[in-house]
Symmetry: C2
Subunit: 337 residues, 2 copies
């Protein structure tokens, strides 16, 4: 069934698949099973919140990819992927969360039936939603296959964005700007944090500049005061207070493309230490933008950032950035660079 409103042309999907097949050949992989919903969407257009059950996109030695998942989600695949309907295979509902049967038994049989049973099978060993039990089931039911680790293989193909992808990311960026405007417009001392988060959510889904908002791959993280020393706390109904900082690490999303941006809110005059940190981060960001040119390495960027904040006496003891693009929960990062 043709998707009446695809995010990308068939040609773009086919060029992604060609890049992926080249990487598979280099890695000695004949058949790839990609379980990461971001990779599934990037390869085929599939878009649905069904990643709580086992599913994947299978890219064999030739032909279009195959969507494989729970039977009731095959209907969602029919309506979102670029491939013909005969490239969509659902498994029976009895496999769902059944300790005595694993969906990978169905997948293995399908690979064997196609004559792909003895081929070199790439799986995403350290990616979301491909469990240890899924791996064990493949080892048992597709015993002739040589199973290879394809973690990050598709993710790396996603690194360089097409013009349409860049346009979608700019739309997501417009949305996160609108979300931060909502914070500036509505936040005031005494306001309950959840009431402010509700308005941020509303803006993120209404969208900006005529573009509707999709759900970000991570919910707003918005801790205040000493809680803000922890990076991944969310919110409660405590009131915003003068003299207490709150950071808002939030993202806008357009058709699953993510643009995160973190900003800190402070009512009153920030202490000198905060003002120093602000100056350090602004200068370090400028140094990063100056350094980020084709041919430079990620380590050059990190060096530019870290050496700048060091001049102000600050240390950041974790990574200073990561790749972004299309994403589903639990992460808006691409987990490559």
């Amino acid at each position: 069934m043709a998707n009446p409103n695809p995010a990308f042309t068939d040609a773009e999907y086919r060029s992604r698949i060609a890049k992926t097949r080249a990487a598979m050949a280099k890695a000695g992989i004949d058949v790839l099973l990609s379980s990461d919903p971001s990779n599934m969407a990037w390869l085929t257009g599939y878009d649905g919140w069904s990643f709580y059950v086992h599913q994947g996109v299978i890219l064999g030695p030739d032909g279009d990819p195959i969507w494989w998942g729970r039977g009731i989600d095959a209907t969602g695949a029919l309506r979102t992927v670029f491939m013909a309907d005969d490239h969509i295979h659902g498994y029976a509902d009895i496999y769902v969360q059944n300790p005595e049967m694993h969906p990978m038994e169905d997948l293995s049989q399908r690979l064997i039936d196609r004559g792909w049973g003895g081929l070199r099978l790439g799986v995403e060993m350290d990616n979301y939603y491909f469990s240890a039990a899924a791996y064990q089931s493949l080892l048992k039911c597709n015993a002739n296959a040589e199973i290879k680790d394809a973690t990050g293989l598709v993710n790396w193909q996603r690194a360089i964005k097409s013009p349409t992808e860049i346009e979608y990311m700019r739309r997501a960026a417009g949305i996160v700007e609108a979300m931060h405007s909502t914070i500036r417009d509505l936040a005031e001392p005494g306001m309950k944090k959840n009431d402010l988060i509700a308005e941020i959510y509303r803006t993120s889904i209404r969208g900006a500049n005529g573009h509707w908002g999709d759900y970000p791959a991570i919910v707003p993280m918005a801790p205040s005061g000493m809680d803000a020393t922890a990076p991944h706390l969310t919110w409660d109904d405590a009131p915003l207070r003068t003299g207490e900082p709150t950071f808002f690490e939030i993202a806008g999303a357009y058709r699953r493309y993510q643009c995160p941006q973190s900003r800190t809110l402070f009512f009153g005059k920030p202490p000198q230490k905060y003002q120093d940190a602000e100056k350090a981060v602004i200068d370090a960001t400028a140094a990063v933008l100056e350094t980020a040119k084709p041919g430079m390495f990620c380590e050059d960027i990190a060096q530019a950032f870290n050496s700048t904040i060091a001049r102000y006496g600050f240390i950041k003891d974790n990574r200073c950035g990561y790749a972004i693009g299309i994403s589903y929960p639990p992460d808006w990062g691409e987990r490559t660079m």
Copy 2:
């Protein structure tokens, strides 16, 4: 550090741990590693969006559980768990998404250092966020351990709810009722779907009856027309239309406790077939509520539901229900009954 606003008493956490240890003994497990964020929260109170990196709660043969995760998230653990600070262990950031080093190397060493290396270690083989690579790393770095499958072990302990948990679920139920009221109040033909979803989100986070809203473990699913034949599609900016049904499968959440409820919206006079389906579902739900008494099995409930809709000529070829409670993405179900 004492959590100033814990969701449950220390005594409640300790009673959960005692139940879990009894199940471990029955399963022949000495040390349990639970990676499911819902299980982690239920056992310790930990609450943060950090499940995109490897982490877990370790329940050894005695003593309080140990929170283990990324170094920068240890700060979030300090502020949310019931245990003393020396029960929180963070690993170095270099392990994060590094193809050459796995966080489970750190975990294995900690188990060995405690003298727990040779014990029977339970892991959640088919649960979220415990990857095939995590399993392989444990096999390699903690080679003396007998690794056993503990999938669902903690989930089953969560089945019977405490009075406080039931109160939290009722608060979540109040929120989802308010979300459906928002739909009834604001939806009209021509309204863009994302604008309606924005209002649903706003209500869900503002909360209801004086209780603030937390984020549901699944985003709103709201397909219209033929898209509604697929269960897990989300939304776009297409306008709502007269004569076209839209279902809203949404949940309210209070302090991570989830209450989902699905309802269908139709502008105009629904076709007879829809009215028949409505009557079938209402009668089947009544039959379920009549059947759901202590001592009955899930199959009795399913039988009550399925036989009632069958009388109207309908068939539902997938499960008719599941357990709910505390939850994090990607699923609001408990994956037990």
